[in-house]
Amino acid sequence: MRRDIPIGRKRLFFDGASGTMLQEMGLAAGEFPETWNLIHPERVASMHRAYLEAGCDIFNTNTFGANRLKYPDQLEEIVTSAVQIADRARKDADREDAFIALDIGPTGKLLEPMGDLPFERAVELFGEVVRIGSRAGADLVLIETMADSYEAKAAVLAAKENCSLPVFITLTFDETGKMLTGGTPESVTAMLEGLGVDALGVNCGMGPKQMIPIVKRFLTAASVPVIVNPNAGLPRSRNGHTYYDITPDEFAQYMQEITRLGAHAVGGCCGTTPEHIRREISLCRDLPFHEPVRKDRSVVTSFSKAVELGGKPAIIGERINPTGKKKFKEALKNNDIDYILTEGLRQEDAGADILDVNVGLPEICEPDLIDAVVKRLQSVTALPLQIDTSDPEAMERAMRHYNGKPMINSVNGKEESMRAVFPLVKKYGGVVVGLLLDENGIPETADGRIAVAKKLIRTAAEYGIEKKDLVFDALALTVSSDQQSAVVTLETLRRIRDELGMHSILGVSNISFGLPRRELINGTFFTMAMQSGLSCAIINPNNEAMMNAYRSFLVLSGLDQRCESYIRTYSGTKAPSSSASVLNNPAGGSGAAGGTGASNGTRTDVTSGGPVGTLRDCIERGMDKKAAEAARTALEGGQPPLDLVNGQLIPALDRVGQEFEKGTLFLPQLLMSAEAAKAAFEVVKQYMKDDGSEKKEPVILATVKGDIHDIGKNIVKVLLENYGYGVIDLGRDVPPEVILEAAKKNNVRLVGLSALMTTTVVNMEETIRLLKKEKPDTVTVVGGAVMNPEYAEQIGADFYAKDAMATVHVADTVFHHDS
């Protein structure tokens, strides 16, 4: 039965440390405290009673580390007895008014993609504990000491999905105000409120004094009640024992200060005792209480970054989208996620605040792909993402596995759309883009669009979604077919801001569709839109005209302090009319690039200021931008692409490879040269007639199951690609069956496997055995930190490669390319 817990309506007190208390009673270092629920229930009960007698209102079951990983056989007993002990202690202490919190701590594992615990497995592990604990009679779920926002999300989802009890959560930060995986009070507050927690806050990690700045940030960010449970100061060590350095009185003094700041519930963590809690209660009990205030902030987050809408318009990068992009479509079909990641990171470098992610294509499984792309993107960028899909299943998968509070693109005024999208926003949290159209199409007037907006607000409210989590797309339609369209859009933007007091978004460049010199219209329209209140612009941040308009607008509207950003960007650059001539500049010409030996080119490189040498020289020296430029210059000067490849690119690579093997040139240089060659080849390909039609020998690369470090495998990939092989990269932690399936499907002869740990070599051996059995013509080459020729032979590999160049030689041997 759900009891009403008056959190946020009156001040509540939590209990203090349990580990500290149990250690006093004889718990050994390394011993699992939860086992005491079975072997020393009376001691656990006496701890609860001591805290209840000290006056706390909420006390935690002794289940911090209880999960199936730690207790494969005894989980039910341990959790059930923990709640029973708590219940009995409550009766014995005559404190039936107190609430039992089912205590849930972290799993002790790091979640994928950084660690090896899959998100859904974490949800399962927490869910199990929640089911047992709520069945046994806990009054609420307290998730605590979470230092990773992703694990926190898994735990909250598990609690919500497996019981109807209130869910509280407290997180752990360090002195810099960050969680271990980068989360901040602002970023986690947005995410957790989106997930619907009933209260949140901070515990452990530091003493009350160090916690004060973090508490302030939570109180500023949070709309729900804030809980503060610090340690009894900082840990010190004496004779091998850990103790905490502040007394109950000092602790209580600080807690009084924290309570005055506005914390709604306070207690203690490591090192605190019933005495700390008693003093804390006596100093804080009668202080004035203020209920939490709702903060109407629209915040989108990643695992570490929070972007608040309003103020400076946010740039949403639009490039992760297959519409009209042949290469991008190819990449999607081939599951080439690295290509998509590169598109994302380029936009980040160009100044995007948020990345739109749209991977919808008719012939692919969108839920699988968007799930994979969102996860991979979040392992390489901290920018928040906008999940852009019309497939509700894809939307749910991406929202569920997203680490943070995403932006969702989109819902519209149609009944069907609202019914599909709003429940997801309510469950997972997110700022959702509402397109101002409905069953009657796109209203032609601003009045019509505002009416749809109001319908969206009403319906969202019925689902329990607040206005702050809605952003309206005012819709930009091409001005070439309707002269009034820009005016209507701008008027709609203005009214979203002034009448509704809400935020807006726009795909800006649609406005110029069908017109010549689109950037002229786009840049001006963008400025007008921002002036009319546009909060988020979906644009290509690599587009100079748009970013010029943006940066200028920021200066002119007082949003770029001391014009710093503007000056940093443009100081020392020339106006476009003069720098645009770089491409057409005949100076240097074929003379510079066509030479063979040392750098005889003297042309000035505009991008980095140095002279551009021959292509060969640029590659040998590992200069990627200059290599691309040298290739372009040579090709524009009329040099046949194949001549350039055979006469310069390949000889340069060969020489670098030989020097690497001789030991006169080293790994980073080898890779820089490989990158330069790749950059040059990208340019050369544009000049080749049969682009992409050449047949490449396929090679599979994978890091075997259990191994999550893949840097070595990726080095090999760079080199193999450089030498013209078509690498099928299966990634890391790859099960043997997946490798076999890929080898069969693509009819691949050469499979390269990497293992870093002795513990995973068994999986390498298993993979080789499976390949030999099911696809006997497969040749295997192995490498990695623990490998050597003897070991390789022992596990049945055909080749051992000591480094990336050696792998290239193996491939050449297998495919008879060796010279």
């Binding site: 790091l110 950084m114 590992g622 080293f666 980073p668 890779l671 740990m757």
Partner: protein
């Protein structure tokens, strides 16, 4: 801020025989090192326990029993041990995974530089322990990690459990015993009333290859 031992970084990058990076590579290395300095979140945890030497190859401390000749040798004449865990946090791993998409040569540089940084960070924590016991008139042994010699890698699980490392410093283990964050170290450091003069940079740098304490 953790000082970065430039010589070590170059050694990890493979530079040998007086070869060094050119200016272009050097500036890239420096750029990567600056980013690492911003990204690392060094943390450590140590705990001290009495040590029992059961026989010539069996040790017991903190409720853990370890059968290992080489660790027993390392801990000869010791009556106590420090268990040691140190990490740079997930920052380097994030930089490395990003660079693997954008620029592989940077990934290799981050890898080398963060490897040098975790060593320095361990040395710093180690030095604090040495000072602490030296005030008691005692001496430390070179730190010894699971997986060295015949000391089983599985001991990693025990060290991490006893140190409560996931909660205390965010150091976790995968099922295949890889540490995550990857730039992390766990170790045992012996405490004895008998001094052993050791190379401050550890056994790898020491010329005494027949030393009985060598790991």
């Amino acid at each position: 801020m953790i000082e970065i031992d430039q010589k070590e970084v170059l050694r990890y990058l493979g530079f040998r025989r007086g070869n060094g990076p050119d200016a272009l590579l050097m500036s890239e290395i420096e750029k990567c090192e600056r980013e690492l300095q911003d990204a690392v979140l060094p943390k450590s945890i140590v705990r001290r326990f009495p040590l029992e030497q059961i026989d010539e190859k069996t040790l017991r401390f903190a409720g853990i029993t370890i059968v290992s000749h080489s660790l027993s040798k390392n801990l000869a004449n010791c009556s106590e041990v420090y268990l040691f865990g140190a990490t740079l946090g997930v920052g380097p791993d994030r930089l490395i995974s990003r660079a693997q998409v954008v620029k592989m040569s940077d990934a290799v540089i981050y890898q080398a530089a963060s490897a040098a940084m975790i060593e320095t960070w361990c040395d710093t924590v180690n030095e604090k322990i040495r000072k602490e016991v030296s005030a008691e008139g005692l001496f430390t042994r070179p730190r010894y990690s699971p997986g060295y010699g015949d000391c089983p890698l599985e001991v990693q699980r025990d060290l991490i459990r006893v140190l409560d490392a996931p909660k205390q410093i965010g150091l976790t283990l995968t099922d295949s015993l890889l540490m995550m964050p990857s730039k992390s170290v766990t170790a045992v450091i012996g405490v004895s009333d008998v001094p052993v003069i050791c190379h401050p940079k550890g056994c790898e740098s020491c010329a005494k290859t027949d030393c009985e304490y060598r790991r």
